[in-house]
């Protein structure tokens, strides 16, 4: 008997026929692991929740059936459903930090999860929680239960969430983006844990992730979704090396890969908003292989290898890596545009009490960092969260005054605070922030957003603003019609393009990019990276590119500086640092990247 069997599941917005998930079928036997991949808005999380019989408010299941261990979720009573949840099927939610109650000790929360289905005496429950904490490899399993969620790190909270899901020994574990938001080395630890749990307990798993690398490490089979439909489902190794659906091929190609220098190709266009795909194949407008037959929605048909595909024009050839222009070699010598010397940044001054009792001052966030940025060079600054990389960027931007050290722009000293800098110096250094949702004022139109730097630095009159805004919006490959929209009416990638256009409106010598692609989907990331590359090269602008993903840095940057605990541990040309890393931390950073195997790579194994 199948553990999980979903047939033609269709989920629509209530009261309309716009489908968020269309005719999705998935089957899973005991001990199997299946991944659901795709970009944000493709319906993968909605599908995962529906597998547990949960539909978010505002959505309705309009067709299809889900069977869990032979029981139809649509016909069983709420009581039976509750019995199934936890004991038979359990879920690890997307963000453990949000899923744990902040005012309750984690041990008590875990005990509560157990008590729902288990009437053991309290003493046994305490022993069980310790055993579970040990199982998910938390440090000091007998004591960690006394802590509150905010006293744990992100990876530890994720482990607690996994322990809660395991509390009633489910046969099927649903994972929603289990490693998103964690550092790469922490991610690797969580994935190892999940792989070991699976081997030890024989649990079946369904794992949703936007990161194909995560699915590659964890799953036997992967289903790729696009615009609410499963477009291809294949054994993981086959999907990674020989995907056949044009979308799956383009998606995999857009993942930056550290072993191949150069920018990954992006997918032209953007996916339809959830529930808004037109008639026919939803991918056809972006597909190079589309033809007349694609006006009909393709059905999901079985393939000889046991996989399934929904495409009128699949490409069964091996996927050859295609790479765009990439990092250049050594930059030209000469005076650097930006030079940072012996920069030290502390978050807090030592308190009065600490000073009179002569306590050791708190460790600086950035300790004695020196770096230079040559004209026209793209320098990558890479490190884990908390390594101080964004702090360095903010210090250069004048938003976070350093405790010591100095920063020069073309040899002239830059005042520490942005308010002390003159307008010419301000114009020459521009910042692009991580999250375009937050960095664009939701109340302004794109025209108003672009007008701000034009008026400030060039005293542009309305006619000049209009002309410059039009040329800028074309430079970032958007349509002039976008000028009248507000940020909420744009997609994530479009917003980040507007943020780039605003930075380049100042005609800067240096742009500081703070994790500008980490909030974006991988195919959008590829297009934003190539945009940054082209804009910087065309204008000779230097770029400091801060990122946590060393593969992204390797794809874009000429030179790389690796930051660890506030210090630069290694720097050099991107190619040599990424292929022959010298410092152990750089090696661990590169080792934690989820590699996507090549066609010829036989060392790859699943699980």
């Amino acid at each position: 008997m199948k553990l999980l069997d979903a047939q033609d599941l269709t989920i629509c917005r209530s009261g309309s026929d716009s489908a968020i998930v269309s005719a999705a079928s998935l089957a899973l036997g005991p001990g199997e692991t299946i991944g659901i991949g795709g970009e944000s808005g493709c319906g993968k999380s909605t599908l995962l929740l529906a597998l547990m019989g949960i539909v978010k408010p505002g959505l309705t299941v309009t067709g299809g059936r889900v069977h869990i261990s032979g029981k139809d979720l649509a016909t069983i009573s709420d009581g039976t459903m509750r019995g199934l949840r936890g004991r038979f099927v359990a879920m690890v939610p997307q963000s453990a930090a949000m899923a744990l109650t902040p005012t309750m000790r984690v041990g008590a929360q875990l005990a509560e999860a157990m008590a729902v289905h288990d009437a053991s005496p309290p003493g046994d429950i305490a022993a069980h929680t310790t055993a579970l904490f040990e199982k998910v490899r938390l440090p000091e399993p007998d004591r960690i239960g006394k802590r509150y969620p905010h006293e744990l790190s992100g990876g530890q909270m994720q482990r607690v969430a996994i322990a809660m899901a395991l509390a009633c020994r489910p046969k099927l574990l649903l994972l929603d983006e289990p490693t998103t938001g964690l550092d790469v080395t922490t991610q690797a630890g969580i994935l190892d844990l999940l792989g070991d749990l699976r081997r030890e307990t024989g649990m079946a798993m369904v794992c949703v992730s936007h990161d194909i690398g995560v699915l590659a490490r964890l799953t036997d089979r992967v289903a790729v979704m696009y615009a609410g439909r499963i477009v291809e489902e294949r054994p993981t190794a086959t999907l990674l090396t020989r995907p056949a659906h044009p979308y799956a091929r383009a998606l995999l190609a857009s993942v930056p890969r550290i072993e191949i220098p150069g920018l990954p190709p992006s997918i032209p266009g953007s996916p339809p908003p959830p529930g808004m795909s037109g008639p026919g194949c939803a991918f056809a407008p972006r597909c190079s292989r589309a033809h007349a037959a694609c006006e009909q929605v393709p059905t999901l048909l079985p393939l000889p290898d046991g996989g399934r595909i929904a495409c009128h024009a699949p490409d069964h050839g091996p996927q050859a890596p295609v790479k765009g222009p990439g990092p250049r070699g050594a930059p030209e010598a000469g005076m650097p545009v930006i030079a940072v010397r012996n920069l030290v940044v502390r978050y807090r001054r030592a308190s009065f009490l600490a000073r009179i009792t002569r306590q050791r001052p708190p460790d600086p966030v950035v300790a004695d960092v020196s770096l230079t940025l040559a004209r026209g060079e793209i320098l990558g600054l890479v490190g884990e969260s908390g390594s101080g990389k964004s702090t360095i960027l903010r210090a250069i931007a004048g938003l976070w005054p350093p405790s010591a050290g100095n920063i020069t722009l073309d040899g002239a000293n830059l005042p520490a605070r942005v308010t002390a800098r003159d307008r010419a110096a301000l114009r020459r250094v521009q910042v692009v922030f991580q999250n375009p949702d937050a960095s664009l004022n939701p109340r302004h139109t794109v025209r108003e957003i672009l007008a701000q730097p034009l008026r400030l630095y060039f005293n542009a009159n309305p006619a000049e603003v209009e002309a410059r805004a039009r040329s800028l919006i074309a430079d970032v490959r958007l349509d002039p019609a976008h000028l009248d929209r507000r940020p909420a009416q744009l997609s994530g990638g479009e917003r980040q393009r507007v943020a780039l256009a605003r930075a380049f409106a100042a005609e800067p010598d240096v742009i500081l990019c703070d994790e500008v692609t980490s909030a974006l989907d991988v195919s959008v990331q590829a297009s934003v990276l190539s945009l940054i590359h082209d804009l910087c090269h065309a204008r000779g602008t230097s770029c400091l590119f801060v990122a946590h993903d060393i593969a992204v840095v390797a794809a874009l940057c000429d030179r790389v500086a690796v930051l660890h605990q506030g210090r630069i541990v290694e720097q050099g040309p991107a190619r040599s640092v990424c292929s022959i890393p010298e410092h152990p931390f750089t090696r661990s950073l590169i080792g934690a990247v989820h590699r996507i195997p090549d066609v010829h790579d036989n060392s790859f194994r699943v699980g």
């Binding site: 004048g398 938003l399 521009q430 922030f433 960095s439 664009l440 004022n441 109340r443 400030l456 100042a506």
Partner: protein, 280 residues
């Protein structure tokens, strides 16, 4: 316009807006449509029950209650409106400035605001009225000041939600002047919250002015005023309830109308009425 439509489509919003519009129209038109002289006393008509010539009855000086009730909100509304504007303007300016500047300036100025808020408003009003006498010229600045203290908290809290966002940081990094950042980046985002807050302030001030008049600290007799009318007639309540009933009905219908409208606008704009924080 779509906001107004969303307000009117809620039954409570439609009732509230109708009540407020009716009151404002009455206050503006009443001098033209008055049935009787509101100040003229008539010894023959003392405490008459409602009749055809005096539909609301007469008070203990024989004045027509209908005419007085129609006029009784004018001065209170004028005082409340002007002091609301003063309170909103200075409260918003200080609140937004403190949110943006932060640090020590914010801490110290807020402690001063805390200290000033601890002085009961009624005490300040009594001191100033004792010094300057009753009337709008004394009340408007005092009420504008003391209600503005509350606006500082609300405006600061609403703005704090936005000053930490990257678009404000981005404007700072570009080197925009502080006033430009406040007016162009922060204010448009807190505008809705503050508009709802302003409506609430107006209703509290209307009630406040009526209470002050009741205590003899607000509108000076013989100007017709609901608060004064209630104070004047409270001794004869058992024998002539109409003399208290009508001004009370007028005052409460206006207050209820303002509150219903503010609620409906808050819902339509997606603002939490208590905290001023945007919920949608």
């Amino acid at each position: 316009m779509s906001v107004l439509r969303a307000v009117l489509s809620q039954p409570s919003g439609a009732i509230g807006v109708a009540l407020v519009t009716g009151h404002v129209a009455l206050a503006l038109l009443s001098p033209v449509i008055l049935p009787h002289d509101p100040i003229a006393q008539n010894a023959d008509l003392i405490l008459r029950a409602p009749s055809l010539t005096h539909p609301f009855g007469t008070d203990r000086l024989g004045r027509d209650i209908l005419s007085r009730a129609m006029l009784g909100g004018r001065e209170a509304m004028l005082i409340a409106t002007l002091s609301t504007l003063i309170a909103m303007i200075w409260g918003t300016a200080v609140g937004l400035f403190l949110a943006l500047v932060g640090g020590r300036t914010d801490t110290y100025v807020m402690r001063i605001v805390d200290a000033l808020s601890s002085i009961p408003g009624i005490l300040i009003v009594m001191i100033f009225v004792a010094a300057l006498g009753v009337g709008p010229a004394a009340l408007i600045p005092i009420l504008g000041y003391s209600y503005g203290l509350g606006v500082v908290y609300i405006a600061r809290a609403a703005a704090l939600d936005f000053v930490a966002r990257d678009f404000v940081m981005s404007a700072q990094a570009r080197g925009h002047a502080r006033t430009i950042i406040l007016l162009r980046e922060v204010l448009p985002n807190v505008r809705d919250s503050l508009a709802v807050q302003g409506a609430m302030q107006w209703s509290w001030l209307l009630l406040g002015v009526a209470s002050l008049s009741f205590l003899g600290l607000g509108v000076a007799p013989p100007t017709p005023d609901w608060g004064l009318m209630i104070a004047d007639a409270r001794g004869v309540m058992p024998t002539a309830p109409w003399a208290v009933l009508w001004p009370m009905a007028m005052l409460s219908s206006l207050i209820v109308g303002v509150n219903l409208s503010a609620d409906a606008f808050a819902k339509a704009l997606g603002v939490d009425r208590q905290t001023g924080v945007r919920t949608a």
